[in-house]
Symmetry: C2
Subunit: 500 residues, 2 copies
Amino acid sequence: MDTQLQDLKDRLATIKDLGSAVALMSWDQDIHMPAGAAQGRAQQMSTLSRLHHDHFTDPAIGRLLEDLEPWAADQPYDSDGAALVRKMRRDYDREIKVPSEFVARFTKARSIANSVWPTAKQENDFAKFAPHLEEIFGMTAEYAGYVGYTDHIYDALLDGYEPDMKAAQVEAIFIPLREETVKLVQAVRESGQAVDVSCLSGDFDHDTQLALATKMVQAFGYDMNRGRVDEVAHPYCTNFGRDDVRITTTVDPTFFNSNFFSMLHECGHALYEQGSAPALEHTTLAGGVSLGIHESQSRLWENLVGRSRSFWAWAYPQVQASFHHLRGVPSETFYRAINVIEPSLIRIEADEVTYNLHIMLRFEIEKAILEGKVKIADLPQEWDQRMENYLGVVPSTVAQGVLQDVHWSLGLIGYFPTYSLGNIVSVQLYEAAKAAHPRLEDEFAQGQFGAVLGWMRENIHVHGSKFTPNELLKRATGSEIDSAPYVAYLKRKVADIYGV
Amino acid sequence: MDTQLQDLKDRLATIKDLGSAVALMSWDQDIHMPAGAAQGRAQQMSTLSRLHHDHFTDPAIGRLLEDLEPWAADQPYDSDGAALVRKMRRDYDREIKVPSEFVARFTKARSIANSVWPTAKQENDFAKFAPHLEEIFGMTAEYAGYVGYTDHIYDALLDGYEPDMKAAQVEAIFIPLREETVKLVQAVRESGQAVDVSCLSGDFDHDTQLALATKMVQAFGYDMNRGRVDEVAHPYCTNFGRDDVRITTTVDPTFFNSNFFSMLHECGHALYEQGSAPALEHTTLAGGVSLGIHESQSRLWENLVGRSRSFWAWAYPQVQASFHHLRGVPSETFYRAINVIEPSLIRIEADEVTYNLHIMLRFEIEKAILEGKVKIADLPQEWDQRMENYLGVVPSTVAQGVLQDVHWSLGLIGYFPTYSLGNIVSVQLYEAAKAAHPRLEDEFAQGQFGAVLGWMRENIHVHGSKFTPNELLKRATGSEIDSAPYVAYLKRKVADIYGV
């Protein structure tokens, strides 16, 4: 079996390298590419995505898997070899259903849509983006048709981001979460407690912000020798292997949160990728297993660590040293400000409690469009209506409304629910880490984050994509996904800040 | 034939896109890639280069060419279709001789050598780079063996950069050029005229330099909507299609020339690529035909325009406005300084007369290594010896000597002679443009460069790689390569500056 296994690995290495090339082209497009190059880049990404797909779906891989499966069945379930064959079978069976010409066509459409989106957003012009969005949703439905589904078209999409998760499960999780969230928002409102957030606005020098946040993510463990930080409109983390994991961020020189918390967030993603086992590198087992597990890592560092009292005991003096106008602001005032709970317009700036309402809104809209119940042209109104119903606030521009997120321009539909799944899982994992290292929060106050990183490395990161999200969570915590610890965490936070 | 032609074009588009991906990876490696990613990037570039080679040498292309050749023979010689088939036959026959595994191995070796070179240069440590250089030269010889040659191993390499050119022809051009150069250097020395270059050194603010040079290249016609400027150790121009042509440059905040003239130089390369006919885009006919013709464009803008009296009549007031310490420096003093002729250590900073001696030295060393007459370990001494003989100056460090150029680290052997060929051709083309537009230099003094750019666009750029360098030169000027106009130009320059 050695020859076949090596053959499979060689093929997976080529597939990985093609994927890295596409990811680099996409990163370059966001950050460096001259505007006039958009069409050419779309063509290049389309070609390389087609090659990626062609290599992935080469019938030789199907034959190798058939050869290797009896061998893999005799290997320990958690061995790299068994996991490689198991995961590749799953991915291969999914990918061969999608025609090569569709992949090239979809990649090109996404690349063009993604180059139109920033301008449409900047010009607050939904009509400019609408035809591209129409095309993206149409092609997404076409894609779901190829992949197939039993219960709901949405399942076909979700499964690509969160293996084994179904839309019905998401709904089953979202319904009680929405009830609890609404209760918490109500409790906050009724508490009569006001949180003064004025200290977060003002003059926050661009370079100083970046330097401070970069220092923080390095303290968390982000290895800048295997990464870098750049500025974009909509922050994300990308990688071209575990040794080249890049954070992107945004800086608002008048507002503290955008850069600081987006950096902590993307750092969580980056730590996951940088911690993938070297032995898995250059195979499809390298790197994070699903968006939900990925988001559990980003939200853990952004919120469970980055909005905790113990973290701020260490961090606040440094923030004050960077921004002198905070010297007169007591740490408790600052801590309350960065933990304010208040319905708002922008998802990525939303607080921990209301955040999931933004997700539920997007999940419902995506489903409704795919079910043909909502038309693209009506999206701005649909959006505003739901904002009003769930959050009681209405955007005054489409830039702050339906055009705020980059995702749809990239064809990422079925993706949003994983953000809330990640929130839920983040608390499950954090509590497991804390059970193993009861004093880890005392260490945050000393600027030491090795205990929580070490636990995540050992229980999550190192495994790459060897296990399904559910398997991984069970191995790490003994439980399946469960929103109860998350809701309890939110209640403690509300109690801490609002005394209710 | 339409089906076959379209099939060939589709294949060439894929090949082009793979080439662009590798070029982007290389650009990113120079400018943005974190150090820890070197091995992974080398692997990625190796894989994509292998795929590029595999697609290029697909036997289906050979069959398509056989089908298309009778058809192409009936097309006008200068039609795109005939040129496409003609050039592809030539390239295909060359490429199929090189084994795929060698391409991957060579790409990886080059990528690693290229990541070691900057450190070795910085640390002035030849021993650190030597094993990589040994490997590069060894693999270059292996490559020449695959490609084949009749007279000299060097021909196999040269042909890849300058189609149809032979080492013997280069020598036949270099021998009289060396004699004339030596006479000119002697005349300068005996003139007793000193040129004061002190105005070129001092405080030249980094950002101001970049802004000024960027303004200049835009005045020449460089389209920043289809390009960008970044900083690297060793400047070059790269492209991922005519709509994404990127200049790289270097800035020395204590010396005027490095940034200014490297920008004009790379702009010449960029104008060539940006001017390739849109109809040729996404085929192997897009972009510059050879390094020599490319260099004729870069040297034309750097020297024939950028070191001319008429250019400086327009440019100097702007330079003075940027750097106030030049306000007291008369324009004649400045003009003489940027045209100083003086033997020096660094090729890219060499004056127009001595420049070619640097090239001859490298050509001889490359030949001697390939002939087994010189060992890698002896290179620093060989280098210094020739510097002494030809230029009368000896580097005190290997960073200023044998490690100064990036080329060998990239496996670019057989490349250097094209720089001198480009110098020669630049004058032939410039004089043809001037014959067509006798007043073009008067326009330089007004900041107008459209006449020379227009002539180059029409006679050189637009043709991409449709004709061989020799064909192109003959179509544009009526002559073959001829160093006489170049030598006459150098004599006029020496007379102007040194009165001899």
